[in-house]
């Protein structure tokens, strides 16, 4: 890392100085060990199997100044409605720091959903118990960097047996005219026994373009807990986005996730769920839309560690221009995980000759009584379908548009909450429409 090494070390030191009383807390111990880990390890290179197709040089060769403290950003509730959507429970972050005056929630007693920095005052025991627990020791350079500069993010705690109706929506806005900064939001969702919630992370850009979002989300699901999770990333197409989500599932818990990736010039999403108790259900659905020179990388891992788990995974990509998609889907079925039922599907629609996808299903099965299937398809729009639409009077461009949208909607239709579903449908249509306008010019 050379020069970068010294630069990051310095950044950390000055960050540390700004922390005052925080330096004796368990959280700060995490930060210190993370920066050591990061500095000794450095950014990954394409020599590493996990990063073979994704060259992070555009990030590693630069110095993105960690955003410390909340920056100035003149935003109104109306702006947030436009950037995301109205919601009863909405927590707004700018460059990783909560904006209390733009956030509001209406939650049952005992439930917390809001700023992690704020929650550290009254929920320290839960936070200290779970924060960093799932990544310690095995973290990648990006996760270590996130932990090093850990300050704020969305913290959700739902106690035993509480079922939340209204979704919790976290809007992460990157803002700041000058660019060149890094936001390191750190999220933690803890659902106690039989608790249930819907949590949506939305990543958007407001009046800036050249920056790094490096987000980490940790999820802990107690026995019988149910989480419907969404991650929608529609940032500037000049932004860098690295995201890491780690889920720990205990007995009979249900994790249902949808990841929608529309923006970013270089995007790497990693999603891991470890089914560490019996009778767990895990669903991972994903959709990426790429154009221009976007590189969109999705790595997923479903780790069946115990018997009777079920998992479903559908990841799709729509790639135009000379964009590049990467899908790596690992499914582990450990020796004890008998009667596992896992299904993985990966489908890519290539809209141009220079768009490419590297897809790698990776099933590693060590139990013998299991049902595991996977399938990957890569193709263009179906000529017969286009002709059928045209033969009914639909113009060729509209026919292509309709079929492309339908391909993407298949993922979004699985989102259970209707208002979130229609939001995702709207931004997908917008994104594809932009594309069509762009190609038509």
């Amino acid at each position: 890392m050379g020069q970068q090494h010294a630069w990051y070390e310095k950044q950390f030191e000055s960050f540390e100085r700004s922390l005052n009383g925080d330096s004796r807390t368990p959280v700060h111990k995490l930060r210190r060990s993370a920066i050591t880990h990061f500095l000794s390890r450095g950014f990954p290179t394409t020599q590493e199997e996990e990063w073979r197709f994704t060259n992070v040089q555009p990030i590693a060769s630069r110095t993105f100044i960690p955003s410390i403290g909340r920056p100035e950003a003149r935003l109104t509730a109306g702006d947030i409605d436009r950037l995301a959507f109205p919601a009863v429970n909405r927590v707004v972050f700018v460059n990783g720091h909560v904006v209390p005056e733009l956030s509001s929630t209406r939650l049952p007693q005992g439930v917390f959903a809001g700023s992690l920095a704020v929650a550290r005052r009254n929920h320290a025991s839960v936070i200290d118990r779970y924060l960093g627990a799932s990544v310690r020791g095995t973290e990648s350079a990006f996760t270590a960097l996130n932990t090093s500069f850990l300050q704020d993010g969305l913290f959700v705690h739902v106690p035993d047996g509480v079922e939340l109706e209204e979704p919790i929506v976290a809007v992460f806005i990157a803002a700041g005219a000058s660019g060149g900064f890094a936001a390191h939001p750190r999220n933690l969702f803890v659902l106690d026994e039989r608790a249930s919630a819907t949590v949506t992370e939305v990543y958007v850009t407001f009046g800036t373009s050249d920056y790094l979002t490096n987000a980490v989300t940790e999820v802990d699901l107690s026995p019988g807990a149910r989480l419907e999770h969404h991650k929608v990333q529609s940032e500037s197409r000049d932004a860098f986005h690295v995201g890491f989500t780690h889920v720990r599932q205990k007995t009979s818990s249900v994790f249902h996730s949808t990841s929608v990736t529309l923006g970013g010039s270089l995007v790497r999403n990693e999603l891991i769920s470890v089914l560490s108790g019996e009778w767990c259900e895990c669903t991972m659905n994903g959709l990426s839309v790429g154009s221009g020179t976007q590189l969109l990388d999705n790595h997923t891992t479903i780790d069946h560690a115990t018997p009777n788990g079920r998992s479903w995974e559908v990841y799709k990509a729509i790639l135009d221009g000379s964009s590049k998609g990467i899908f790596n889907g690992k499914i582990f079925v450990r020796k004890d995980a008998q009667k596992t039922d896992a299904k993985q599907t990966n489908k890519t629609l290539l809209l141009s000759d220079s768009a490419t996808i590297d897809t790698k299903p990776q099933l590693e099965i060590f139990a013998d009584d299991v049902k595991c299937t996977h399938g990957a398809t890569v193709g263009q729009l179906d000529e017969q379908q286009i002709f059928y639409l045209r033969s009914r009077g639909i113009g060729v461009d509209q026919a292509r548009d309709l079929l492309t949208t339908a391909f993407g909607l298949e993922v979004i239709e699985r989102v259970k909450n209707p208002s979130l579903r229609s939001y995702m449908e709207r931004i997908l249509r917008q994104r594809l429409h932009e594309e069509r306008v762009r190609t038509a010019q």
Partner: protein, 253 residues
């Protein structure tokens, strides 16, 4: 309305249509029969504008215009409709969304206002009754998971909504049960008008008891080998296609 002259069409270098002549006037029903592989679906697809076929010779004039010059969607907007022998499944697009898009594209072309959701629903409910189709089919993706017969019925439903001037029904009767056959035929008959025409491609004389043709043509090896009135279908039923092949008699109506 439609005049086909000496039409030659091929696919992958194989000539399938080898000089087809056919003339269809407004108000008429024409039946096209012929052995498997004789080129009936090819003819239908060429008329609808499927570009995998290349036309090497001949002309097709539709309402005074060169049909072969037009894109498939232009033909459809101009009133040409093909009921597919094998209707295509469109996952993710509901039947009603599909029809609304198609109908509004056609209406726009004709200088009519687009239908709003209420008027559209009223119209399709009425047309569904014509083919005795259940409402649930509106909300299902086009043809996906439909049974063979349901797909065929859906084609006629599309036709009822889009109200074409020239409808080409490619073996719409195949795969229909007896009741469905009658319903579909009734639907076609109810949609018949003085100013539109229908070409029905079929293997079975039975359909022609319901949709009574003005002319019957026999297509063999890419040519119309014989044409006649509705009796010709009965004669074919009795004597088979060999009889036509043995006594060719090129007739143009």
């Amino acid at each position: 309305m439609l005049e086909i002259r000496d039409l030659h069409a091929s696919i992958n270098g194989n000539e399938i249509l080898r000089g087809v002549n056919l003339r269809v006037n407004a108000g008429e029903v024409h039946a096209i029969m012929g052995p498997n592989g004789s080129g009936k679906s090819t003819l239908a697809a060429v008329l609808a504008g499927r570009d995998v076929y290349s036309v090497s010779r001949g002309t097709v004039t539709y309402e005074g215009k060169d049909l072969l010059e037009m894109d498939p969607e232009e033909r459809a907007r101009g009133g040409v409709f093909l009921a597919f022998q094998y209707p295509v499944e469109i996952p993710g697009v509901t039947n009603s969304y599909f029809l609304k898009t198609a109908l509004n594209a056609i209406r726009k072309h004709r200088g009519l206002e687009e239908l709003d959701a209420v008027d559209f629903l009223k119209l399709i409910r009425e047309r569904m009754r014509l083919v005795d189709m259940e409402e649930s089919f509106l909300h299902r993706p086009v043809n996906e998971g439909f049974s063979g017969g349901e797909k065929k019925r859906n084609e006629i439903f599309h036709m009822a909504v889009l109200e074409p001037k020239l409808a080409i029904l490619d073996e719409t009767d195949s795969g229909l049960d007896i009741d469905a056959l009658r319903i579909v035929a009734d639907g076609v008959n109810k949609l018949r008008r003085k100013d539109n025409a229908t070409i029905v491609v079929t293997h079975y004389q039975r359909l022609l008891n319901y949709i009574i043709p003005d002319f019957v043509h026999v297509l063999v090896d890419g040519q119309v080998m014989r044409s006649g009135g509705k009796e010709l279908a009965l004669e074919l039923e009795e004597k088979g296609y060999d009889w036509v092949k043995e006594t060719p008699e090129n007739v143009t109506t």
